[in-house]
Symmetry: C2
Subunit: 368 residues, 2 copies
Amino acid sequence: MDRPLPRPSDGRSTPYLLVDVDVLADNVARMAARARQRGVALRPHAKTHKCLEIARMQVDAGAVGLTVATVSEAEVFASGGFTDLFIAYPLWVDAARGSRLRALAERAAVVVGVDSSDGARALAAQVPGTAVMVEVDSGQHRTGVAPEEAGLVAEASARAGLDVRGVFTFPGHSYAPGVRADVSAQEADTLRRAVASLSARGLEAAVVSGGSTPTATLDVPAGNDDGSVHDSRDDVLDELRPGVYVFSDAQQWELGAGGPEHLALTCVATVVSRAGGRVVLDAGSKALGADRSAWATGYGRLLDHPDARISALSEHHAVVTWDSSPAPQPGSRVRVVPNHACNAVNLHEELVLTDGSVWPVAARGRLS
Amino acid sequence: MDRPLPRPSDGRSTPYLLVDVDVLADNVARMAARARQRGVALRPHAKTHKCLEIARMQVDAGAVGLTVATVSEAEVFASGGFTDLFIAYPLWVDAARGSRLRALAERAAVVVGVDSSDGARALAAQVPGTAVMVEVDSGQHRTGVAPEEAGLVAEASARAGLDVRGVFTFPGHSYAPGVRADVSAQEADTLRRAVASLSARGLEAAVVSGGSTPTATLDVPAGNDDGSVHDSRDDVLDELRPGVYVFSDAQQWELGAGGPEHLALTCVATVVSRAGGRVVLDAGSKALGADRSAWATGYGRLLDHPDARISALSEHHAVVTWDSSPAPQPGSRVRVVPNHACNAVNLHEELVLTDGSVWPVAARGRLS
């Protein structure tokens, strides 16, 4: 990689998030191309970047709209001019949230997730006619009904007066080593069974939506002779909703779903201590997030030192197990690759770009 | 406990942080009393709450000043009228940070941590005469020199023209089960050796500062006949810097350093899904933080269901392993106790109090 580290003389105190604008643009274009080749729509999850400028890049590259996680994220992106939003979450809609959803619906086409008959009725009572997608569980065992129950929830939704558009799943259990192919197959199978469950009740799933960054990798596999790429899931999937691919992160790096050449987001940190021979940085869990999966090799990686690991993390300190190169002196700056880009971005007010721009994290902390 | 859960009709969408103002006031008073009984000064760490109103309560209860982690936290509290601030961190002071420290020094008495001769010289070059405390490592192996090297760093600091005030340590390795007594003894021993190391070079440690919430517990042990409380550390310690005690959290609960009666901070969350019989809440790692120590029993606890555990956490979902009571219906609200209060607070713009007040998290995201 030939990416110069910003000099301390740039005057910005560490820690701060740095986005390599060329790598970002390449990631955005690459995933858009992959979706086109597979013949599926791309509706990227904006919870990763929470940034209007990046959402604009995604839509300009062909995304059909955005996915968001919360009503307040939807409010921010609607205010930013994005008018096709899927809240991929089984909202519990009480009076307060209903009022916000009605206001939102005046500014954007909004689709909401649903995974229970009770949830559907609560939503319908507040915002009659809302477009919904039924969430099914493809193995992560979080939200989402079993695929065989999708028809039941869809029917209850239709009876309550909601506009049933289709089914969706999030194969979050793809965030583990060596499972990508199996989870992709499981995702496709789950969605097929969910579509059948709707059909059995005379309902159509016009949209079948899936995909996470590990299952929708940035690296395009070898195509067919005509240049097309066939993925076994494409017989059922209409739409992909990857999020992390815009930045990638240490998790994706370690899962093999986005190598160092795809890493667009780092946290610039200063070596503040070499006491006891340790290398300690001023980026801790309040700058990087505390995420560490059981299979992760540490609390984060260093872009320019692939063998180094963050072996201990507290709020404002990262202790690095250094690689074989000479350890850096206090005052040196390094680029840290967070384990989980989504949580790291949410901890910062802005993204500093390698071209000198500064973009606000507009939907930061929009939790409700 | 007899603390009513706020009703959904309060109109605030979940997730949000709720502070029980009575428990908070009791925690503040209790730690202040404990410091007085032990005859040590209390300089609470404000990184936990980042809130001007809570800092004011602490100072009104007798705290000699505040501890902060970053220059930007110091800037916020100085703007809020707090004029005695210890940045308990070995800052690397370049020109930009030097300029900010000089501006800060015009508004408040500021003391800065130092753990290397290089760091001392960099600080002195920017802000001559700054008051410093030498950080020593009492076993956490993060920042801080070995106690025997404290004199060397103090001497280099004095020669560079800094004003050496004393020594400090953070016994962060007290965050583990069953180690509190050992770590407290280690902390005292380390500080004694550090003081001796300064003495050997003709330097005095006027202030000897230690303490974390687990080693400075809220529960006052049985006192002596005259009502005083003797702690073996009090022969050396002048000052305590606990932070988490104002709120306590699931870590303190599990460490036995602050039982449920001391839990002042919860995240109010809604049950959004019962699909597959699971209980899923709308508070995930973006509302609670992703902290989970190896010894923690989950990603967080429920205040009103001590046997329940958050067994899986993603950005906007907590999957709860429920206790033996009937599981709650979708739409129910519960109070989640975050594992680590400091990281949870930093994810929110405001704290909602049980008396109806709303306090801004004024120093939220102040990382540099």
